[in-house]
Symmetry: C2
Subunit: 147 residues, 2 copies
């Protein structure tokens, strides 16, 4: 399900409305930036695009967008949180995390493996009384540059 950027904006606007929030230029710029990024940017990466961006507004707007369900906070062992568009606005993917430099890359795995995994995890979750909403699969390793 590959969604065009125009559709993304429409969806974001709709979800913000549901939560009683506006789709302001600042927020649009953030979404644009996240949609264009090849890798989930950390806050410094976002601020670097325009040094006079107030950091508090960026954080606040990311929180609003996260709350609206269009942005996801990616947890890494690095010092900064990273942000990406919610999964239903992009293709389902996983992360390659370099344990040496902290670099994060997006990857996809074969669809057949995804469905095997979904089936397996659903079963595991059911056995333990968990209602699974999603999974998080990351590969931890050493990237080409650090090797």
């Amino acid at each position: 399900m590959i969604t065009g950027t125009a559709d993304v904006h429409a969806i974001v606007q709709a979800r913000l409305l549901e939560v009683g929030q506006r789709y302001t230029p600042k927020r649009r710029a953030l979404i644009e930036h996240l949609a264009a990024a090849a890798t989930p940017p950390a806050l410094p990466d976002i601020m670097a695009t325009d040094p006079k961006l107030p950091q508090s507004s960026v954080y606040r707007n990311l929180a609003v967008l996260e709350h609206a369900g269009v942005v996801r906070r990616v947890i890494t062992e690095g010092e900064f949180a990273r942000f990406e568009l919610a999964e239903d606005l992009t293709a389902h993917h996983h992360h390659l995390i370099c344990s040496s430099c902290g670099r994060v890359e997006d990857v996809t795995v074969p669809a057949s493996f995804e469905s095997t995994m979904d089936r397996t995890l659903d079963r595991v979750a059911r056995e333990t009384g968990f209602a699974t909403v999603s999974h998080r699969l990351d590969l931890i390793g050493i990237c080409r540059a650090c090797a």
Copy 2:
């Protein structure tokens, strides 16, 4: 590969020696606590066992043990980091994370699925020039208590 507690202590001692550190009673107590825990404890959990433990020492010793490769820091979206024994001192497992209350439970998946996953991820990593050392698979959902 299930390792007895006695062996764990021997391994920990050996790895600490390699890094030029001693296996002090405080560190032994930490390892003991982690080995007994059913779920990776956060710092408050550890401190709760003995309220007069100085938090700075706990943090420092966890860092030392992590550096020696016997303790692993588990990243969650919660406010506290959690700690568990390194994977080669326990059985390979994954985590069920409740997105509502932050509770973390250990789970294992069928061995057949593990090996399928290993093969798939190795291939993916090779294609992208990453040297994979490990993977991290977490199930995010709602636990029985929160449902």
